[in-house]
């Protein structure tokens, strides 16, 4: 358990670091929970959980310094407890969503500390102490990451038994509901994303994407069995409905359309400018004739 606690603490601190350094997005559940799974010794399970948790938190992005919920912390704790206790996605989601909300509170509290340090930074600049300025800058973010490491470490070390007891008393219907909820939650993610991109001019493209993703289906044969019917033997085929276009293929088509839109917008700008120039020369020639 000590080793597991160290791993979770390390992954949480690392996720927080890599979220800021270079903004690599590696703190997204899809990557960080997969990494966590590999370190905890549940590689395949980790990757699948990572994909499911990513879908739950898909719409949560920190924009303009505002973090709606701390999806990184929620996903890491949800994924870690699910893997350590041998539980499934329903448990991961049930733990991840409230923990993500709690994580935001913690993040806000830490940001208040940083905000309190701002006058100190300004004072050091005024007093011409560059060395202290640099040292304080390093100290504040080192503290920040040590806090997250300790949080992950202590929660797993001390909290696993509590969580296990909690998970064991949950009735089946709650488990089933959580599974249903985990298929519905991506809708909230999509809605949050749409809010930042939606405008009247471009909204039809959302429905175009939906159509490309939803309407093109084919029946893929997954299995076949020979049945002994009354007259003669027949082959019974099992089929599943499969989407023809993958998201990568839709992204390819979408990029073509986006390029066409950009070209037409740029052409409009050029036309407007040449109109302006034309109007200007007209004015000048009129002045000439008026004189």
């Amino acid at each position: 358990m000590l080793m597991n606690a160290l791993i979770v603490g390390f992954v949480l601190a690392f996720a927080k670091f890599i979220d800021w350094w270079g903004n690599t997005m590696l703190s997204r559940p899809i990557f960080i929970v997969a990494l966590l799974g590999a370190l905890l010794g549940h590689p395949t399970e980790g990757i699948i959980l990572a994909a499911q948790l990513e879908l739950v938190f898909l719409g949560n992005v920190s924009l303009g310094g505002v973090m709606p919920t701390d999806f990184t912390m929620g996903a890491i704790f949800g994924g870690a407890f699910a893997m350590l206790l041998g539980e499934d996605l329903a448990t991961a989601v049930m733990l991840a969503v409230p923990l993500a909300a709690l994580g935001t509170l913690l993040y806000s509290a830490m940001k208040v500390v940083v905000t309190a340090l701002v006058p100190k930074f300004e004072q050091l600049t005024r007093n011409k102490k560059l060395g202290s300025f640099k040292a304080l800058w390093i100290a504040q973010f080192a503290m920040f990451h040590i806090c997250y490491f300790l949080l992950g470490f202590l929660c797993v070390l001390l909290g696993t038994d509590v969580i296990q007891a909690f998970v064991e008393v949950i009735p089946d219907w709650v488990q089933a509901s959580m599974t249903v909820a985990s298929t519905m939650l991506p809708a909230l993610g999509m809605a949050l994303l749409m809010k930042s991109l939606w405008s009247k001019e471009v909204c039809p493209y959302y429905f175009l994407g939906f159509g490309l993703g939803a309407f093109f289906l084919y029946n893929a044969t997954t299995a076949g069995t020979i049945t002994e019917a009354a007259q003669d033997a027949a082959i019974q085929l099992t089929t599943t409905t499969t989407k023809i276009l993958s998201l990568t293929q839709i992204a390819f088509l979408g990029a073509i359309i986006a390029a066409l839109v950009i070209f037409s917008e740029l052409r409009k700008i050029k036309e407007k400018e040449s109109m302006k120039i034309a109007a200007k020369t007209m004015d000048e020639s009129e002045d000439f004739f008026n004189d």
Binding site: A191, G211, E265
Partner: protein
């Protein structure tokens, strides 16, 4: 400080300008130092304090170590600053070039209005955050997630690796080119670009791609399905197959649009979250889903 004049060329410039060796070194230095921009974000100044931290070596080089001018410049660069970190190298390159120009002006005995540097920063951070956020969060992240999800759901290692690569190769390229073009283009050119609306054209294009992908993901990853099958006098009634005949993916689309319509009116994502948990419990208990 003889090389100050060779590095500085902010006011004039253009796409085809070649950078000399000194400038190329500066580009790489800006590229690496801006990686740290998000550390020390505060409520009052956001990235303001780190903005001055990034500039330390450049200001030391321009004004000399431990000089009054250096500390004045540091203080000038501690104002509120907030933009998408990925496109920030552009603003940093531009600011370094303008500080060099300021030094050259003062050395030549000409006046230089310190406000111009601050106003360029303030003027650029908004539009750059607009285009940067739509590229990074709206397009790159969505495309990378879309490419990776299928592999991840199947439990393949390709998923997380593809996600990291598809997102970060463009991330690194954008950072490098932003640092380069900040030096090349100069302030005048940027002002022109903002005025003519070129940036708006690109933002619109990125919204188109982003929305198309969100639509496709609504179709493929919001899997809200009913399991209700009723026996009505000999004929079986399968609710899901009826819904599929009306329009494939009708429920996910309705759910997403409903959530979106609510969020547009009232920005309360937590309420939507709780509501979804509640209806999933109700539908499961009633035997319609699950």
């Amino acid at each position: 400080m003889t090389d100050v004049n060779t590095v500085a060329a902010p006011a004039s410039g253009g796409l085809k300008k070649k950078l000399n060796r000194e400038q190329k070194k500066l580009v790489w230095s800006v590229f690496w130092r801006t990686m740290w921009l998000m550390f020390c974000t505060s409520y009052t100044k956001q990235q303001g304090i780190t903005f001055s931290w990034v500039l330390i070596p450049y200001l030391e080089k321009i004004y000399g170590k431990e000089t009054d001018e250096f500390y004045n410049a540091m203080a000038r660069h501690q104002g509120f600053f907030n933009t998408t970190p990925g496109v920030s190298p552009f603003i940093f390159s531009l600011v370094v070039a303008m500080e060099e120009e300021r030094k050259a002006c003062l050395d030549a005995g000409k006046p230089f209005d310190d406000e111009t540097i601050e106003s360029i920063k303030v003027a650029l951070m908004g539009p750059f955050a607009g285009i940067g956020d739509s590229v990074y969060s709206g397009v790159l992240r969505i495309v990378a997630t879309g490419v990776a999800l299928g592999f991840s759901q199947a439990g393949s290692w390709l998923g997380p690796i593809l996600f990291a690569v598809v997102y970060n190769v463009p991330n690194v390229l954008i950072r490098y080119f932003c640092a380069t073009y900040g030096l090349k283009l100069g302030s005048t050119y940027i002002a022109k670009m903002l005025e003519s609306g070129t940036i708006k054209a690109f933002t619109k294009g990125f919204s188109v791609l982003g929305l198309t992908m969100i639509g496709a993901m609504t179709a493929q990853y919001v899997s809200f399905k009913t399991t209700l099958v009723a026996d009505l006098g000999g004929t079986t009634f399968n609710l899901q197959s009826v819904l599929d005949q009306i329009l494939p993916g009708l429920l996910p689309l309705a759910l997403t649009l409903g959530a979106f319509a609510y969020l547009r009116k009232k920005n309360r994502p937590m309420r939507v979250l709780v509501f979804m948990f509640v209806i999933s419990v109700v539908l499961t208990v009633l035997g319609i889903c699950g």
